[in-house]
Symmetry: C2
Subunit: 232 residues, 2 copies
């Protein structure tokens, strides 16, 4: 049996790509990004700021989770948000309304936030010392995985509507996760989703990964998520 | 009122990025891709093959829609599938089991299919003259929008669990769509989703866009989808 996907054999032709020059270019871009991410990490550490890189597909519930988190924890601790989207101020407005200090980064055709964008946003955001900064990345389960932003930890979300096979099909994102929130568990009665299979798949890529089932709309599991945040 | 996102004003700081050198590099890559896509388009036309580029976020239901389509229409017309995923043969196995001739393209760290990958896959696939070829792109609502594959039309899916604001937040994908399938309408009673607002948002980017509400699991709207396919 194939260890990667659990299939019984190669029953369809497969083409695995060798990127060649693309990879070389990409490595230069990533090396420069890693340098800037290191500067961000030092900047956060010097101020006692906990920065968390929040990533998922579009529509997995990142913004709803952060709205709820800001509303519930904001009175106890200052929370700021860097909002990444291709276009619109919609999410920044939601987080501002929930009580967070917020900066929107619109990437245009861009598919991810990088360390330079975060550095620029921090200048505008000016988060207070000892605070929490959520960096809500562009909704994309692929590209953001490659770009270190200088965060303390990577928070990956997926929703139960997306299917339990997603960790195996998009391994880069799950391999680097510090915690996986499986959101929208309120929809479990209505969809075909095996949370144990999903957890097993994610932990095959990232042994020991903490997996938290939550519903950002109904509130399930948020206490555990807030405990995780306190320890982050 | 802002015409882009319908907001009332700039109530949060916004950083809009000027990509500079990145854009220049990207333009070279895209120009080369466009040349190859033109060759694919000629190849399809010479054989009377209808090629459709199917795109969405991960978990919107592309594979389930194609499984159902192959099972329902396969007896009447030959259907082949080029399956794009970062890893695994899972989707190719599902489509093969449904009755389609299938080739899996694994992109590794790559975030989209490009015209060269499709050309390579076609050699292995050898679709018959006069047939239909679905190209199921990597699950990503961002990057695949930029890469012409030589397709006849672009089929964009989103699911009702993802939120009606997605067209405005990821405009490139919706701007180039030929049809938008709003999937998982069986979940409408359980989620907060305004299909009229979603349609309005999508048509603001792509005037006259055909929007088809469907449920690939329950079967709602598939007759309309099959009619669309017949006319494609």
């Amino acid at each position: 049996m194939c260890e990667t996907c659990g299939c019984d054999g190669e029953d369809a032709p497969r083409i695995t790509l060798d990127h060649g020059r693309t990879v070389t270019l990409e490595q230069k871009v990533l090396a420069r990004n890693d340098d800037l991410a290191g500067l961000n990490r030092t900047w956060f550490a010097e101020r006692g700021i906990v920065a968390l890189n929040v990533m998922s597909s579009p529509g997995s519930g990142k913004t709803t989770l952060l709205e709820r988190t800001v509303a519930d924890l904001g009175p106890e601790r200052p929370i700021s948000v860097i909002e990444g989207d291709q276009e619109t101020l919609l999410d920044a407005r939601r987080l501002t309304a929930a009580g967070a200090r917020t900066v929107q980064v619109n990437t245009g055709a861009g598919c991810h936030l990088d360390a330079a964008m975060v550095a620029g946003a921090l200048t505008a955001l000016a988060p207070p010392d000892g605070s929490t900064v959520f960096i809500e990345n562009v909704g994309n389960l692929v590209c953001p995985a490659l770009f270190d932003l200088g965060e303390r930890a990577r928070v990956v979300l997926m929703s139960v509507t997306e299917g339990a096979d997603k960790p195996l099909k998009y391994p880069h994102m799950f391999r680097g996760a510090d915690v996986l929130l499986v959101n929208k568990v309120d929809l479990l009665p209505h969809v075909d989703f095996d949370i144990d299979a999903c957890t097993t798949a994610a932990r095959r890529l990232c042994p020991g990964l903490e997996v938290l089932p939550v519903s950002a709309t109904r509130g399930d599991g948020l206490k555990t998520w807030y405990d995780w945040l306190t320890d982050a």
